[in-house]
């Protein structure tokens, strides 16, 4: 979409109903976002005095509940009146009226969510669309309160910046990872991270900024960042960008569609070394050598990628599943990064042992067993002609109603989790854009769809093949002089 007014000229993508360009560029700069993914929503267990929910325990006294009655309108019928109890934390989201899929309704959980606080996020895009320089960018993105994003920015004059922008509660380590007691003000958010201490980079020495939902700061950052951030993509992007010189738009396209599996490249040599080759039969040896010869690229026709995928899934569950099923719930399954770290560092990692058997298993036993298990499914896949990664992954783009004739199935595209081309089975990087802020801006973009929502139109899905092939379209930012260009087929006039 392009918006041109006497005051500015911006091009890019937007959401239906948003009066602005959200990821795109204008005559002076380019801007983009990836999700910051920080935790800005916490739950508190509320102790009501009795079933009426009129009072709850807070700091050793009974506090009055506020009730708000929501009238949920239903067409042609009387509305549903929902009485919501409000505490000092926020609304009680789960109580006797709403179990939210829990087995019992006995416990009451109030939610404190940053998104409940008023803010004006639309202003970001109005200001960004007008932005000319770094200070305009800063003034624009600091209007972003929730949901927090990594906002990247570059200008024609050569400034670059990234800011993990949002209103972030300043938490102690682990605060809000689990439900907290609602009886004590000590567990409440004590304050927000000041805006001048939000992680950002402005013209960093390394000469680039990058954003792939990664952890926004290192361990020297004084505030708790919570959760696991995807490491692989950000790591590889930074490594590649650091090595690249005199980058062209074509280099950036190759980078964005890169199927290199850095996680696999780290762990596979270690797995191969662990496998006890003497124990393998000829079929297993065959798949073993497919994996040994794999180039760590999850390209469409790669068989090694599928062998790795099947082996890794079994290996991961063989390492942790035995302990996990005995662990008191709820508990999170260990992160992939934890497994990688342990595998590379420590061949006597205690989780390698299968505690369901009396004998202690070594790392080699577990990997060999995983390969043997994987071969059973690999043989079936090969019989079905689905051993190639693209066919195995079987990427598809569903219509909202999941009607097959309105969807695009079996797309030949590589990549996947932990890869820069993070195209998974049914989701992935949809809007790809490269903007070269040279004298005359060069802009390229593509998305897996079309310009029409009508399934009967040939413009419904005509970009999909281009997108799957990792190709881009050149983006035409129209100038006033080009309004009469022969490429302009239609004009829409509005009046009121």
């Amino acid at each position: 979409m392009q918006i041109s007014t006497p005051a500015f000229n911006a091009y890019g993508v937007s959401f239906p109903g948003s009066p602005g360009i959200i990821i795109g560029f204008n005559d002076s700069c380019a801007f983009g976002f990836t999700n910051g993914g920080r935790d800005v929503r916490d739950y508190y267990e509320i102790q009501f005095k009795d079933d009426t929910r009129k009072e709850y325990r807070f700091n050793n006294e009974w506090k009055q509940t506020d009730f708000r009655i929501e009238d949920i309108k239903i067409a042609g019928k009387p509305g549903i009146l929902d009485t919501v109890a409000y505490t000092v934390f926020g609304p009680v989201m789960y109580d006797k009226n709403f179990n939210g899929g829990r087995q019992t309704n006995e416990k009451n959980y109030a939610v404190r969510w940053k998104a409940h606080d008023p803010s004006n996020e639309l202003l970001i895009f109005k200001l960004l669309n007008h932005a000319k320089n770094y200070s305009d960018y800063s003034a624009a993105v600091t209007n972003l309160h929730t949901p927090g994003q990594n906002a990247v920015f570059a200008t024609k004059s050569g400034d670059i910046a990234i800011r993990t922008q949002g209103d972030w509660p300043a938490k102690w380590k682990g605060q809000g990872d689990y439900v907290m007691p609602g009886t004590d003000s000590a567990y409440m958010w004590q304050g927000m991270i000041p805006q001048n201490e939000v992680p950002f980079q402005y013209n960093p020495e390394r000469g680039f900024v990058s954003s792939a939902n990664q952890k926004p700061a290192d361990s020297t950052y004084p505030y708790y960042l919570g959760r696991e951030y995807p490491v692989a993509r950000g790591f590889l992007i930074n490594k590649r960008l650091a090595a690249m010189q005199q980058i062209t738009p074509q280099d950036m396209m190759a980078l964005q569609t890169d199927n290199y599996n850095i996680y696999a490249a780290e762990i596979v040599p270690k797995l191969l070394k662990g496998i006890n080759v003497q124990e393998l039969n000829s079929a297993e040896t065959n798949y073993f050598s497919m994996l040994s010869n794999w180039n760590f690229r999850n390209d469409v026709d790669s068989k090694g990628a599928t062998v790795y995928d099947q082996l890794f899934k079994l290996f991961r569950s063989a390492v942790y599943e035995d302990e996990f099923e005995k662990a008191p719930k709820p508990i999170q399954f260990p992160f992939e990064t934890t497994l990688l770290e342990a595998t590379l560092r420590d061949s006597v990692y205690k989780f390698f042992d299968d505690i369901r058997t009396p004998n202690p298993e070594s790392f080699g036993d577990i990997v060999t067993r995983s390969l043997k298990g994987a071969v059973l499914s690999l043989q079936q896949l090969e019989k079905d002609g689905k051993l190639e990664w693209g066919k195995f992954k079987d990427t598809h783009i569903n219509h909202l109603l999941k009607l097959a004739p309105f969807s695009r199935l079996h797309l030949p595209i590589g990549g996947g989790a932990n890869m820069i081309n993070a195209t998974k089975e049914d989701h992935g990087p949809s809007w790809r854009m490269v903007i070269s802020l040279t004298q005359q801006t060069e802009a390229y973009g593509v998305y897996p769809g079309g310009q029409s929502g009508n399934p009967g139109s040939r413009f419904y899905d005509n970009f999909i093949d281009q997108w799957a092939a990792g190709k881009y379209y050149s983006l035409w930012m129209m100038t006033k002089a080009e309004a009469k260009d022969s490429r302009v087929k239609w004009t829409m006039n509005f009046s009121n």
């Binding site: 009607l403 004739p405 309105f406 009967g456 139109s457 040939r458």
Partner: protein, 122 residues
């Protein structure tokens, strides 16, 4: 001759009426023409059926072929479970034909009954 006049009249009336009224007005078109132009029950039905079958199948073919049956290729697997635009177009014609044909059949019976009643009064 009566048959062809009926056929053309039903088709023309159905086309014109559907520009302004709901689709089922084709039943009324068949009925009115069958009342106005007396024919045997079988011929009445056939004139109504063929008129709207040809009209609807023809029109949907014309609309659908305008973009190489792109939408029909997607709709036919949903409705008739096979990817076949021609079959979808024939099914469209069949539905229209049956409705208009039954309308015309009703018209011819009403006409005959009125005739029988007026004869018995003499």
């Amino acid at each position: 001759m009566k048959f062809f006049i009926s056929l053309i009249l039903i088709a023309a009336l159905s086309f014109a009426a559907c520009l302004y009224l709901p689709w089922w007005i084709i039943a009324v078109a068949g009925f009115l023409v069958a009342v106005a132009i007396p024919q045997g029950a079988g011929w009445s039905f056939l004139s109504g059926f063929l008129a709207v079958f040809i009209l609807w199948a023809g029109m949907s073919f014309w609309i659908s072929s305008a973009n190489d049956h792109l939408l029909a290729h997607k709709i036919s697997p949903l409705i008739i479970k096979i990817d076949n635009p021609v079959l979808l177009i024939l099914a469209t014609g069949l539905i229209g034909g049956l409705v208009a044909g039954l309308g015309a059949l009703t018209g011819s019976f009403v006409r005959r009954r009125r005739k029988v009643e007026s004869q018995s009064r003499l």
